[in-house]
Symmetry: C2
Subunit: 208 residues, 2 copies
């Protein structure tokens, strides 16, 4: 069973302060990731950069949480999934996606994928598309306080997805007991590149 | 069509030198990513770390390739998919997976997933499992010089995958013309957590 009920007693102001402190740091690390992949500088420059990176890491590790970030909750019930691999505002490997829930229950996100997300040259890794669709469909299938986990997802690749500005959206098609079915896609400026369908399950321990 | 035929005229010694230069840098950035997610240091320490990170990024960007890394080829035909989101030795967001092809054609990898790959608290993001399976099944379905792309993949989640040491393997089940079918899974120490099946397609332009 997951520790979804952890409460840290943080106020809304605490959360705002923590986000303002750590989100720009995470953005700097995202920029460094891109530079690390694309750099062609010589050994001397690499050595200087590496020393600075290791110094920064030591500073950050002076006080850190045990294990992974988890999901922290504020006293008002707001969740902080800040370490999440897709949406985490404190996870430099997340694009991160900002997913909007529409009044009709659908989930939508506009995002940008650069060099860190490459598979075929100049294009998004097929596995990255699957990762994003898993999350966007899961958001469409979930409601506040109802945590649904992916049961099965099928991803169909219509054509290669170019790196750059992309869009994803998903919606629930129907429910059947504890199963929620959703469909969605990723699109570039000219149309859909990848589509997915999935069934999400509300874990037995999470049923009210 | 993809630029899979790009040749940079690099010798085996050049590749060895480039790898020895940039792989440790990438490892340092991976460590920084983990520290960035888990840190609880105060604003002064964050400011100092952020300044060092931005200095390192500026050094690395002084000379860099246009766009994403792509796949570079050596004169001996060896490929360098070093920017790849799953296996790229120069991509700090890749675990990276080291995938071994067995004599029977199956693909196997032992790897470690830490805080950067989290979804449910303490567990691997379902989308990350899908991303890894897409690559491992794709490797099982591919041969040197034959680039196969994912057509459709279905991923079934048996149970949550804990962060930590994991294993993945895949094998081809059958072929049908330009279609290659593969199955595989991810397992922790106690057994299979996620399984997948997929069909891979050899693009028309890549058929000999």
């Amino acid at each position: 069973m997951l520790d979804y009920t952890h409460v840290d007693g943080l106020s809304a102001a605490d959360i705002e302060r923590l986000r303002a402190l750590y989100e720009p740091l995470t953005g700097s690390v995202r920029d460094l990731i891109d530079a690390t992949i694309r750099t062609e500088v010589d050994a001397d420059a690499v050595a200087l950069a590496k020393a600075e990176i290791e110094s920064a890491t030591a500073r950050l590790r002076a006080h850190q949480c045990d294990g992974a970030f988890g999901i922290q909750y504020a006293t008002n019930g707001d969740s902080m999934p800040w370490g999440n691999a897709v949406i985490g505002v404190r996870n430099p490997t997340a694009p991160p996606l900002v997913i909007h829930k529409e009044p009709d229950g659908s989930a939508r996100s506009d995002f940008y994928l650069g060099a860190a997300f490459e598979g075929p040259p100049g294009h998004v890794h097929g596995g990255v598309s699957a990762k994003i669709l898993d999350h966007v469909l899961g958001d469409a299938a979930s409601k506040p306080g109802v945590h649904r986990l992916t049961g099965t997802i099928t991803v169909r690749y219509r054509r290669l997805t170019p790196l750059g500005k992309l869009h994803s959206e998903a919606r629930v098609t129907h429910t059947d007991g504890f199963k929620t079915y959703a469909v969605g896609h990723i699109a570039d400026a000219t149309g859909i590149t990848v589509e997915a369908e999935a069934v999400f399950i509300e874990p037995r321990w999470a049923r009210g």
